[in-house]
Amino acid sequence: MIKIVKRGQPSRAIFFFTPVLAIFLTLVAGGLIFFILGFKPFEALKFFFIVPIADKYGFSELLLKATPLCLIAIGLSFCFKSNNWNIGAEGQLTFGAIVSGGVALLFYEQEGFYILPTVILAGAIGGMLYASIPAILKTYFNTNEILVSLMLVYVSKLILDYLVVGPWSNPEGFNFPETRQFSDSAKLPLLFEGLRIHAGIFLALAAVVISWFVFYKTYLGFQMKVSGLSLKTAKYAGYKGKKMIILVFLISGACAGLAGVGEITGPIGQLHREISPDYGFTAIIVAFLGRLHPVGIIFASLVVAITYLGAETAQIFMQIPKYTGQVFQGMILFFLLASDYLLFFKIKFIGLKK
């Protein structure tokens, strides 16, 4: 007989075990879906999760893909830890990319060591500016940050559309919706010849280290934790809530903005309408799968990145519809939320009494 018993305090082990369980369940369910669709499940899973990263190029692509996810998820974890639901990282990414792209276009066909740092800084500032809107509205007008930040995503995409169709479009480009290509001085250097992995990965790693330090070694990190657990306690303790809300949103926006910079000054090299395949939304899954822990987020971003690559490989070699990648991302989140049940309840197997 199976009996479900409430746990007192969730154990640390189970806290980090459930994401692994969620991934395992996703694999099983995924295999089952492949089987129902008429594909060999093990072969399909191999093409999905192993083949894409089996060579040096594939592995570098994995890191390239994981970089923006990791960066945004780290930023989001500042918000989520402190009970601020920033859903609009995609918008902050887009706006960061707009500002940094604009600066990069100002330096069109110019050279100089100062160009790249300026472009990067502009992206971070752009993301912060954009994230400050839901933060300020929340603190001073008591609006719902989920709605405001989400709606601003669409606004940012429309701004980008307007710019690349109109004033910023390439004068030699027959009015197609794209800007000029950035000059080399405005682009992130590649780490290896022939691979696309670029210096942006160091921004992500720096974010990991800094966030770990802030979360576990500073007073701010402690305040965030307390606010996350109980806003009333935080108020009682006399923490300045408003200041913290704005601060975590700014950090989150800066990270998302930097992720946008990494895309446009890295592999894309210009602004056009589609600079991100919804990294800002997928990073929400990454943040939770990584348990809002910097190291967890590194692993989670790698796992989620592979669902993007695997979907392509599976379609090329097995003609599996590419949209299964999104199904996998959805399943990971679904199973994670479902297995979080185990955090607070445990399953006891009780022998039948004779």
């Binding site: 692509e61 696309r196 589609e274 991100s276 395949p277 379609q315 090329i316 070699f317």
Partner: protein, 356 residues
């Protein structure tokens, strides 16, 4: 005996040759990169119909759908080039820079980019269809069938391709009905059923009783069906989605070109080209004409179609004036391809300004 030996030697050589050619031809693998899902019943759907024609011709094909024009396109292209594909068709404008970038690294793989203008390496060709010829036919029908003399046009992006279509449509409509006005709504999307339906609704509310579209979903013809106005299918025959509204469709027929190019790769005769085919070459196809159209209009359209195909009629024959009344093409002249490729002004009779 001697003769017999020679004969059998020759015939076996011929057989061997045919076998080798057949074997080589069968070995060529073609890949297709799509922007949308193969089930969009528009742009991507028609490219996939073309891919199936390549399969039917005996070649192996691979496709990847829903490839965003973000940093991902380059990886997909490189993966296809790396996995034994000899020719890769990239079927969206936004793949232009990644196509040229990857082509540089794989000089032995041929790349065919749809609707772009960059051919930076000898292994990159570009191809597009003269859809404006189809729009001349739609304009003729619209100008005849309208009662309100207001024709709605849902446009995607203000690029020459789309402006050219609006102009060609309007010129043809004016020819049969000098009083018509073309109203444009810019949807700023190629595929977004929600937005497209809204745009169509707005045009119908402004009195348009015929709706043309340069976006890819079936939402517009369905909206027209509901409102009881006429519409035209885009990219594929959309008649089954709106049997009453759809008078005809302009179909993108990529199959013959794809088969031709893949065969050229197989025979080793592939060369860099910039292809721009219209009704005459069968890249632009007009679907069945609806029986709601009067018989004389139908025969007129059939004749126009034949004349466009033979080159007897050109969609842009002067005199053509722009909105301000300046002469664009003189009487008796036709617009050359250079002018068509860069067309960024409306002709007289189109309402509004091109968004900038």
């Amino acid at each position: 005996m001697h003769k017999f030996l020679i004969r059998s030697f020759v015939s076996s050589l011929v057989l061997l040759f045919t076998l080798t050619v057949a074997a080589v031809a069968k070995d060529v693998k073609a890949a297709f990169v799509y922007i949308g899902p193969t089930g969009d019943h528009g742009w991507t759907y028609q490219h996939d119909v073309g891919r199936k024609a390549v399969e039917a011709a005996g070649f192996k094909t691979t496709y990847v759908e829903g490839v965003p024009e973000s940093a991902d396109a380059e990886r997909v292209l490189r993966q296809l080039a790396n996995s034994g594909h000899d020719v890769i068709f990239t079927t969206s404008f936004g793949y232009m820079n990644p196509t040229n970038k990857v082509a540089k690294e794989f000089p032995n793989v041929k790349f065919e980019h749809a609707t772009g203008y960059k051919r930076e390496h000898p292994n990159v060709s570009t191809y597009a269809a003269r859809f404006y010829e189809g729009r001349t036919i739609l304009g003729t029908i619209a100008g005849t069938m309208t009662k309100s003399n207001v024709i709605g046009y849902v446009a995607s992006f203000p690029i020459p391709e789309v402006i050219r279509g609006i102009n060609s449509f309007t010129l043809a409509a004016q020819k049969v009905n000098p009083n018509i006005k073309t109203k444009i709504v810019w949807a700023f999307t190629w595929y977004d059923p929600g937005k497209e339906a809204e745009a169509a609704k707005a045009l119908i509310d402004q009195g348009a009783d015929v709706i043309a579209q340069h976006t890819d979903s079936t939402a517009i013809v369905q909206m027209a069906e509901k409102a009881g106005v006429y519409a035209f299918g885009q990219a594929s025959d959309m008649d089954k989605f709106a049997p009453k509204a759809v008078l005809t469709s302009v179909e993108n027929n990529w199959g013959p070109y794809y088969v031709d190019r893949v065969k050229a790769v197989a025979n080793g005769t592939w060369n860099q080209k910039d292809t721009w085919h219209g009704i005459g070459d069968g890249m632009v196809v007009i679907s069945d004409l609806d029986s709601q159209m009067p018989a004389d209009l139908r025969s007129k359209v059939k004749k126009l179609q034949a004349d466009l195909a033979s080159g007897k009629v050109h969609s842009f024959t002067g005199p053509i004036y722009d909105q301000k009344g300046n002469l664009m093409v003189a009487e008796g002249k036709t617009a050359d391809d250079g002018m068509l490729a860069g067309m960024m002004t409306y002709v007289k009779g189109v309402e509004g300004d091109i968004p900038k």
